[in-house]
Amino acid sequence: MRKNLNVIAAYTIMMGLIILVGIFQSWNIALSIFNLCLISAVMTMGANIQWGYAGLINFGIMGYTALGGLAAVLISVDPVQEAWSAGGSNILLSLLLIIGMVLAVRYVLKKYEKSKVRTYIIATIIIAGIIIIRFVSEPGIEAIEEVDPAKTGFLGGFGLPIIFSWIVGALFAGGLAFVIGKVALGLRADYLAIATLLISEIVIAIIKHEDWLTRGVKNVIGLKRPAPYEVNLQQTDWFINLVEKFNLSKLNLITDLNERQAALNQFVIEGSSIFVKLCYSGLFLIVVIILLILTQKALYSPWGRMMRAIRDNEEAANAMGKNVVKQHLLIFVLGSAIVGIAGAMLVTQDGLFTPGSYRPMRYTFLIWVMVIVGGSGNNFGAILGGFVVWFLWIESAPIGLYLVNLTTAGLADTHFLKVHLIESVPYFRFLMMGIGLLLIMRYRPKGILPEKIEIK
């Protein structure tokens, strides 16, 4: 208990801060911060597995997040029958062609030894394959995108409950990571960073512009929820009774019946959105706890010891007969799969999929700040980093506004400098993140909760 004191203290302070937001701003804001903190925590756990356990640098987090989001769309949206009948066969045929192409390339790779001729054969297969696939898929894609473009214009999904997408998102992201890992894991650390960053941009470009699959920048809205809808809740009796019970003391102060009813309605509306957010918090909390247990178990298992050995001295681990390449690939896939879960959770909570909103600042670099600030190699640290950094990311605007008002108190309200500074308050978050990261890296390079390995 004693040695975990700093962990408990850090988390207590964090929860205290969120509760303070609840009291001073509103419980709605506090809960939405809390939910996104939980999602960020899942992302940081994924990044932490790769960076903290194995020392692999992955700047492609944005790509996996987006793939997780795509999974949510493909699982939960109802299939668009007209689109399937218009162009589904072409798409399926192209899919078969792609699989055939990959198999052909594999066959050539296995069958022939490395030579110039082999490279040319592979290049020919790929180029010819792409041309054939374009010819097959193009009419299909056009037909699909013409089906009621204002509402659908894409194939839709499978119409399953959105919860399943959390697993499918993990599979998608893991699959992508497998391909990237095969290609890029041999690179030195900073090249791996650049390569993964660029590949994630390619993923986003595809998601943005393949409208037949994702609706692209037209966005997918109104995804099904795993939680009840506010509108339905506001008409359910048990919920109204519950809200009444909670607010009885306040309601009893009001004597006029009409006024009392109006106040009750207000409470019900507020309460419903809080209730929905609480449902999400519960779901997310379950995911975080399961992942935390699994990652902690892994960290202290022989496998975790091996990973740390590989991280600290690759050659020595290799000499001891550990297959470094295979383990790197495995951990790359696992970490990315966890990020994929977070991506699906994010879209589930928002209820919409907006490919245009995936930007590297928010979905790659911010997550890295979380991992570094929290403490890489320590799961509790990484989760705490997710909480602290997301909290500051949201609350930096009010803090910035306060600071601006404080420093420019002597100026008139219409003074151009003051107006300009108040307009640029949203960008103070970048400043805070940057300075925070630099300070942590300089004075506490292991993060708020540093890695601590005790042999059990």
């Binding site: 640098i57 660029l198 941009e201 470009a205 640029s424 940057g434 630099l438």
Partner: protein, 336 residues
């Protein structure tokens, strides 16, 4: 006649824009490569440092415009650039002193320096957005076109016009001058040679009495010059928007790696490789074939290999292919 029309078409839509864009990328790529070769880390703040330099250029341009100084047909920004460079070099040296120096002295691994550069990226981005805001800004003035499409048509009697923007010419000329001066400096002067020696083998260079502090300082000064000019030229040719500059970091990295990181000449050519392949692969060749082929064979599609949405994806795919088959880059940089 049709052949000439087809050639003019390609010149107008592919060659001239790609040359200008390639020059802008090349300057950024040399910046990345120098930092990588001498300070030994991947600088993720590249795009934002360029946007900082451009911002200072814009502020000076506005100041000169407000007091009525202009260059006539040339953009006022050209007078502003030298002042911006001084400012920018100061900023770079300041960052180095307060941020990067500590990690260099304590010999941190390159990954840690790359992380630190992310911190610098956040701060620089915030400073730029707080000072000038995130919106799109044009600061070009003076004569816009060197040759207008209409004039060209009248002059030659062709169907296709060739428009050359003055910013494109300025970009190419300035880049050529700057890059030749840089290569002269690196290859002919004593300081330049010692920089290359330091990049090649640090221990040996230190042994032969090269002052590392001086090398690092000169690297930052050159980097400041490149970042400001590269950024300002891009802003003059297109427009200035902090987010675009951040995104430009990606093709710049691609150019530097394709050319062989640590090799300035490779980076220079890498910029053009990336620019030309981006534009060649996303251009719709329909009109080109209409000139060349007889009517019966005319294509009825756009004859576009990839839609323009995939412009960035092209450069990244090239990068991935290069990393797979020739990890040291086309022109033999450092082995990864």
């Amino acid at each position: 006649m049709d052949y000439i029309n087809a050639i003019v078409l390609l010149l107008n839509y592919i060659f001239v824009p790609a040359l200008a864009y390639g020059s802008q990328l090349a300057l950024g790529a040399i910046f990345v490569t120098l930092i990588y070769g001498i300070l030994r880390f991947a600088n993720f703040a590249t795009g934002d440092m360029m946007s900082f330099g451009t911002m200072v250029t814009i502020l000076f341009t506005w100041y000169f415009q407000s007091i009525g100084i202009s260059l006539g047909i040339l953009p006022t920004a050209l007078i502003a650039i030298p002042f911006a460079i001084i400012f920018m070099v100061g900023y770079m040296l300041l960052i180095d002193k307060f941020v990067f120096k500590y990690y260099r002295v304590s010999k941190s691994p390159p990954v840690q320096l790359a992380m630190v550069s992310i911190g610098v990226m956040f701060v620089t981005q915030a400073v730029v957005r707080i000072i000038i805001g995130p919106s799109d800004r044009r600061f070009f003035d003076g004569e816009k076109f060197l040759i207008k499409a209409g004039e060209f048509k009248e002059m030659t009697g062709l169907n296709e016009g060739l428009a050359i923007k003055s910013t494109q010419v300025i970009t190419i000329v300035v880049t050529l001058i700057l890059v030749s001066a840089l290569f002269w400096f690196l290859n002919q002067t004593k300081t330049g040679k010692s920089m290359r020696a330091y990049s090649d083998n640090e221990d040996l260079a230190l042994l032969s009495g090269i002052d590392p502090k001086k090398i690092v300082m000169i690297t930052w000064i050159i980097a400041g010059v490149l970042a400001t000019i590269g950024g300002a030229l891009y802003g003059l040719d297109k427009s200035f928007k902090p987010f675009t500059y951040f995104n430009n970091m990606l093709p710049i990295f691609a150019a530097a790696i394709v050319g062989g990181i640590g090799n300035p000449f490779g980076a220079f050519l890498g910029g053009y490789v990336i620019a030309f392949s981006e534009i060649l692969l996303t251009y719709a060749y329909k009109k080109f074939f209409m000139y060349l082929l007889p009517e019966s064979l005319e294509p009825n599609t756009l004859v576009q290999l990839l839609s323009t949405d995939y412009k960035f994806a092209v450069s990244f795919s090239i990068l991935v292919i290069v990393l797979l088959y020739r990890p040291s880059g086309i022109f033999k940089g450092k082995i990864l």
